[in-house]
């Protein structure tokens, strides 16, 4: 084929051109500030609007990537030692990234507007060694979503206690609340029981706290494992009964479903404890007039739920410290925080971390006042130590117990407590 040496030459030139093109496209990308967030397409739209406002204001272009495979893609970039400049991600991952040297320390006082954030917000991004590794961006507490139309049809009041909640869930599971004449096609609670990223642990933590139990207690980088104390065992027994009792109060397949959201959205389950990011979806289906958001019904341990936070991190390989800082300052400003709540898509700022703002007013929606209310009675999972392994282990152990309806809860929790202790002591985080 290469009778004519020119052809071979052409091919080589072609390859060279391709290589050059690849290099130059990387060079072009270098000029923009590369920002990643773990978001689906709807939230990505909102982020885009926020970044467009940032670029307009500062002239700094942003190259934005929204991915739900955040960890996997980040691992690949970490291996190449070329991280995005700015990462916007769960607070829960800060410690593991900081320990791996992937994100840079932050000096809060250096950021304009840092005093508009609450002390609690800044505390959440402080590591056990006292250093700050993130900038708070969004916060919320998990709230309880209830199908108000089903509840009213069956003649129940808004549940105030766990007993009310169980009674309502039982009625949803057994009394044909959707009125389609078919029994057994509706379920009490939608539960995200997947162990993917240890997701189940987040859902469990609220009910553990409400039952007076806990996984670990402590703070400031030192924790005591409490998952096998009598209080926690009693709490787990109550939760296991939701799965293993008759009737089962959770949707079928809860422990392997990747997401519980469709069960609530598609008229199969009537109670769902999750974050307010679901509001945008649930307003479309089942419909804004068909559900209500309430403060968690109180168990023996109160009505505390899980606090979830999103923070801004600075990639360690970035060569643009000034632009990183400029973006963080913009993202905590009242302008960007409001935009993050209201731009078309899905709120990426659920409740503002900027204390000068009032969420319910900005949203024009009283349901957000409920979320703000619940936030005052909510608790963050340890994020100043790397809790990732413990979180996965908790999710896997609980999934294992509930799928087998084990009678040896104490034994399983003792084993789990041992593993969490080992993990924490490796990090020198055991009290």
């Amino acid at each position: 084929m290469f009778e004519n040496p020119n052809k071979a030459g052409n091919a080589i030139r072609g390859l060279a051109f391709l290589a050059a093109a690849l290099c130059s496209s990387t060079a072009m990308a270098q000029d923009a500030l590369e920002v990643w967030s773990r978001s689906g397409p709807q939230a990505a739209e909102t982020y885009k609007a926020v970044f467009a406002a940032f670029t307009e204001k500062t002239g700094i272009p942003v190259e934005y990537l929204a991915t739900v495979e955040f960890e996997t893609q980040l691992q690949a970039r970490a291996a190449a030692r070329d991280l995005p400049d700015v990462l916007i991600y769960d607070q829960a991952s800060m410690a593991s990234y900081a320990n791996a040297g992937m994100i840079l320390p932050v000096v809060p006082e250096d950021l304009a507007g840092h005093d508009q954030l609450s002390e609690a917000s800044w505390d959440s991004v402080r590591m056990a060694d006292g250093g700050y590794y993130g900038v708070p961006f969004s916060q919320h507490a998990q709230v309880t979503f209830i199908r108000s139309d089903w509840r009213e049809k069956l003649g129940f009041d808004v549940p105030q206690t766990h007993d009310d909640l169980s009674a309502l869930a039982t009625a949803f599971a057994t009394q044909d609340p959707d009125g389609n004449g078919v029994d057994g096609d509706t379920y009490g609670m939608a539960v995200p029981g997947t162990t993917d990223r240890g997701f189940f642990t987040w859902w469990l933590s609220s009910y553990m706290m409400q039952r007076g139990g806990s996984f670990v207690t402590g703070g400031e980088g030192k924790y005591t494992v409490t998952v096998n104390t009598p209080d926690s065992v009693a709490a787990v027994e109550w939760i296991q009964n939701l799965f293993c009792g008759t009737p089962s109060l959770v949707q079928p397949g809860a422990l392997t479903n990747a997401s519980a959201t469709p069960f609530f959205a598609e008229n199969h389950a009537g109670i769902y404890q999750t974050g307010p990011y679901a509001i945008a979806n649930f307003d479309k289906a089942p419909g804004k007039d068909k559900y209500e958001i309430i403060i968690a019904p109180a168990g023996p341990g109160g009505k505390t739920t899980l606090t979830e936070r999103t923070s801004i991190y600075f990639g360690a390989t970035s060569s643009k410290p000034d632009q990183q800082k400029a973006l963080a300052e913009f993202l905590i400003s009242p302008e960007a925080q409001s935009l993050g709540m209201t731009a078309p898509g899905q709120p990426v700022v659920r409740l503002p971390v900027n204390t000068t703002l009032n969420a319910a007013e900005i949203y024009g929606d009283d349901r957000w006042a409920v979320v703000a209310d619940q936030l005052t009675d909510s608790q963050l999972m340890p994020s100043d130590v790397d809790f990732t392994t413990a979180r996965l282990d908790i999710a896997e152990t609980f999934q294992s117990m509930f799928s087998q309806c084990t009678s040896d809860i104490q034994g399983q929790l003792d084993g789990l407590a041992g593993r969490i202790s080992d993990e924490l002591s490796q990090q020198n985080a055991l009290q």
């Binding site: 691992q75 078919v182 997947t194 360690a316 990732t388 996965l392 896997e396």
Partner: protein, 318 residues
């Protein structure tokens, strides 16, 4: 050029006999002067292989001896990653599940493929349509298959499969939820997906069976099962070799089906080698241990493939 191409098509023996030695010598020299042409053709593929296969593989071997921390510097830990894998009881479970799943799926898919091939052999138009329909699972994305089967396996009494077995008077089964059943549910999906692929290979094998053998055996009074056992199966031996070797190679790497159906759950009942590696590497950030497990998987795959080849070759020699 054309001349050379023509030569390549004709049998070697004929060439040697019909051509004067001088000419063949001259021609033999010519391609040698352009030895680099061959390499030039191979170069793109080799570069791609080097970059996307060999370099990552060697990086993987290196990482398997390290505690991997890209930003703090990797730490050499010798064999301790391998020790961690081999001493981890969850890995032992995963290996047992992999073997059960791999063995069950392979055998199931071979038998299923053979049955399909025997049923659907022939030239009629309808059969062509049915064969295409039967082949669809092979070309459908596994993620889609996972979702479809999750609907089929829905564990409520009104789930698709449960209402089907309910009409036979059987109790509903928690297909993917019950740790005692989940692995077999996953296996069934694997067989459903793998059998049509084997069917195609067997169909090609069946096309080569000498029809007169069937007639001769029928005249000798052989029943259907005799004909299958003494005529069809021996004739399918080469196809069987291919199918079994492919199955041996694939069985240890099973991942996607498990991941989309159960994610390794419930209670680790469907955790296999690859899901364990994924979880260690990407969920727990223990890249070193995950790499060690991957290298062990590579060694096991090579060993199994060699064994499969050895067995089938010995049989062929008999």
């Amino acid at each position: 050029m054309t001349d050379q191409a023509g030569e390549a098509m004709t049998p070697l023996v004929k060439n040697a006999a019909s051509r004067p030695p001088a000419a063949s010598l001259r021609r033999r020299v010519r391609p040698q002067s352009r030895w680099w042409t061959v390499w030039l053709f191979l170069l793109p593929a080799l570069l791609l292989f080097l970059y996307f296969k060999f370099i990552p593989m060697f990086a993987g071997i290196q990482m398997s001896f390290q505690k991997v921390r890209p930003f703090l510097g990797n730490e050499w830990v010798g064999w301790s990653n391998y020790a961690a894998v081999l001493n981890d009881s969850r890995f032992h479970d995963a290996i047992v599940h992999t073997l059960i799943l791999g063995f069950g799926q392979s055998i199931g898919a071979v038998i299923g493929g053979l049955v399909l091939a025997l049923l659907l052999e022939g030239a009629s138009k309808t059969l062509w349509f049915v064969r295409t329909a039967a082949f669809l699972p092979v070309v459908t994305a596994t993620a889609v298959i996972g979702e479809v089967w999750r609907i089929i396996y829905f564990p409520a009494p009104n789930g698709f499969l449960n209402s089907a077995i309910g009409s036979l008077g059987l109790d509903p089964v928690r297909w993917l939820e019950d740790p005692a059943v989940a692995l077999y549910s996953v296996m069934a999906v694997g067989i459903w997906q793998g059998a049509p692929y084997n069917m195609v290979i067997f169909l090609a094998g069946l096309a080569g069976v000498d029809r007169s053998l069937y007639e001769a055996s029928a005249i000798d009074g052989a029943k259907l099962r005799h004909r299958l056992w003494y005529v069809t199966l021996p004739a399918l031996r080469p196809a069987m070799t291919i199918v079994l070797v492919l199955a041996a190679v694939r069985s240890l790497r099973v991942f996607t089906d498990v991941w989309v159906l159960t994610g390794g759950g419930p209670a680790g009942a469907t955790d296999v080698w690859m899901t364990r590696i994924y979880s260690l590497g990407f969920e727990r950030n223990q890249m070193g241990i995950a790499s060690a497990a991957s290298i062990l998987l590579l060694i096991a795959s090579i060993a199994l493939t060699a064994l499969a080849l050895l067995i089938t070759r010995k049989r062929a020699e008999k």
